[in-house]
Structures are given as C-alpha cells and as structure tokens.
Subunit: 209 residues, 2 copies
Amino acid sequence: MTNPPPNTTDRRPGGRTARVRTQVLDAVRAELAESGHEGLTMEGVATRAGVHRATVYRRWRDVGGLLVDLIGAAGEIAWEPPDTGSLRGDLTALNREIQASLTEQPSFAVALMAASFHSEQAARAQTQLWDDRYAQCEVLVERAVRRGELPTAQRTDARNLLIAATAPVYHQLVLLRAVPDPDLPERAAAAAVLAAKAGAFSVPEDGGT
Amino acid sequence: MTNPPPNTTDRRPGGRTARVRTQVLDAVRAELAESGHEGLTMEGVATRAGVHRATVYRRWRDVGGLLVDLIGAAGEIAWEPPDTGSLRGDLTALNREIQASLTEQPSFAVALMAASFHSEQAARAQTQLWDDRYAQCEVLVERAVRRGELPTAQRTDARNLLIAATAPVYHQLVLLRAVPDPDLPERAAAAAVLAAKAGAFSVPEDGGT
DNA sequence: GCCCTATAGCGACAACCGTCGCGTTAAGAT
DNA sequence: ATCTTAACGCGACGGTTGTCGCTATAGGGC
C-alpha cells in the first residue's frame, strides 16, 4: 500500500463549514445592529443564523470569539492611516475616525470593549487591533519629522504622541459618556502637536549599531 | 379621628435594614477581593452576606447597583486633589493615583467600568464619579494660573487640560492593556503641561455681563 | 407594651446558558 | 463511485439567573 499523501491540515474549511460561518457572522452583524452589544447573545445568533446552538459554542466559544472572527473578516479590507499633508491634519482626521467608530449605532468598537471584560479572546483581539493600528500610524509621525514639523534634535516617540492625541476621544466617549463634541478631535490633535513641538515626546537617541 | 402625623418618608432605613446593607456591602468587597469583578455575582454576594437572593435583587437590582452603593459608602470619605506646588507635580501625582487605582487587585475602578456596560445605574454612577473628580481637580489649574505657570492672556479650559493629562493612563491600562509603565504618569502630565503652556487649552474669554 | 407595615425570608418558577453524547451529513481525498 | 471523518444537528442535562406571590419578622410610632 502506498503511503497516503498527507492531508494538508485535516480540516474542512470549505463548503458547508464556510456557509455556516458566513451565516453566523451575518447574524452577528444583524443582532448587533438590532439590539446593540447588550443584546448580542450566543442563543440569538444561532437562532438567527438558522444553526444549532452547540455549533456556535463549539466553533466560537463565546461572544468574544464571534467578535474576534468578525474582526478577521473585516480586517481583510485594508485600512490606511490618513494623509492630509500636516501632522495636525492627520491626527485630526484620525480622531474623527475614532469618534465616528465609537459613536455609530451600533458601535463595533464599543461591543468589543464590552466583551473584552468577559472574554479573554476578545481582550487579546482588542489589544492586537489597536496595537496594529498604532503601528500603522507611526508613519504619520515619520512624515511629520521629514517635513520638519517636529524637532529633530531628538527622536520623537511616535507611539506616545499618538496615544496622547487619541486618548482624550476615547476618554470622553467611553468613560465619561459625554455627548460627542465635534470640536474634540481637532482640539485633542492640536494639543498633542503643540506638546510634540515643545519636545514632550522626545527620547534620547538610543545607541545605534 | 385625628390625622396621624405624617411619617417622614415611610421608609425604614434603620435596624435590620441597615444591618443587611452593611452585610451585603461587606460581602461585595470580599467577593471583589477574592475573585475580582468577573466573579462578582448577585448570587455569590447574597450567599456570603447570609441574605436571601431576592433581597439583593430587590434592593440593588444588579451588580451595577451594588457598586453604586459601594461608591456611596466610600464617597463619604473625602478625597482631595494633590497639591505639590507645581502643575506638573500635581498632574503627575494625580496620574499616579489613577494608575494605582487601575492596577490594584482588585480594582474597584475596573469593576465599575466593566459593570457600566451592562448596568445603566453603573454607567450613570461612573460618569458622576469622574465628573465630580474632574470638577474638584479644576482647582489645580486655577492654582497654576495664579502661580503664573500658564498663559494668562486667555483663560485655560481646565477640564480639557485635565483630560489630556489623564486620558493616556486609562488608555494604556484599560484599552491597550499594556503593562503598567512607571514613567507614564509623569510623561503624560509633562506633555499636557507643555501643551497648556503653548496655549493648547486656551479659550476665548466668554463675554462676562 | 401594642400595632402597623416596611422589609426580609422563602420556595417555586420560567428562562437562559453552556456542555455532552450520539446520530447524520457532506467535504474532500482516492 | 466510494470511503473516511470533520463538522453539524439534535435533544437532554444540570447549573445559573432573575422574578413572583406569599409569609414571617422586626422597626419604630403610639
């Protein structure tokens, strides 16, 4: 008997499995839109997807798992950091995006935050998501340095600058649950830029080579 | 028949009622310490307090309600904003307090945040709590202005300054779940001060009288 | 002390949640 | 076309959650 050529992974991602996945993810989106992150329940998703509860539990474990998979599905569409020609403009645009994502009904970002308190996978996915975004955004700072908008005597810590610029938006909307202030994105961006120009995020050039 | 003199409120806050309350709140603290905000459940609190489940549900409604009452009980002990002699020192001290409150095990602040996604009362209480704190902290800015640390040509919006200074700490610890950075409180405070000195939080003096 | 009644105790309940074992279906390889 | 078995469907289960109607207890005004 010839050795059977090894099965790639012994998985079956196609056909029915794939169909079930799209049904379930669609159901997640629909439930989220209809009843918000509070009404997002495993039972509800399964019923709406026309799939058995046990299936959802087996493949996604908990609500966090569903959201994580939704990130995966959405993450395939690329995101690009804004490029307006000035650091302040870029950060403002970024903040506007963030404010929109936290304000839209329903907010996927808020759902993920809520889930991250109950679900380990959701927590990890959230950290991952923001980390990636911030990494992508570091180019904003590099561009600003190249344009001469920032002091060049010392390197500017891009991550800290980005966090300083964006954190107030989250703070106001999530923690303080303030009504969205249309000027906040720009104010927060401007403040961060001023601080950066004053050298607030400069770090000693670490020894090269 | 003589009109019976009106009972003050027809409530009975004393005696057994008060005893039950302290038992329950003690149980909340204990459960929180033992199993964190994730393990804080109505059932568990009731059992530990030696009280019937229905009683806890009736009086506190949900986990959020318990936390809210805990704030009330703790809120009676006064909190004072730091006063170190400089704006930067004050904000750094404030940030250190915040970082400590988010890092301690278990963290009441984190528990309240988690609950605020499920419980309306918890959400309101959270907003209220931070609002009060920020209102109290505005004196920091006033003192700084009086000391001449900030530009006086225009008024500085204390609230925005405070949020810019403190938001990064929440952001790092809650959203990004980064490991606590001992330098962050100072860095964030310093950045906010620099921005403020550059006029980032100045607002047009609104026309008095 | 004696009432009145606010509040707590109690047990039952329906709903939901998550898991399990087992039978069925249909990918995907030959 | 056939076979193997991954993935799903199904129903049942034990545990938890939140509510309700009722009874018992005790606070506090008289």
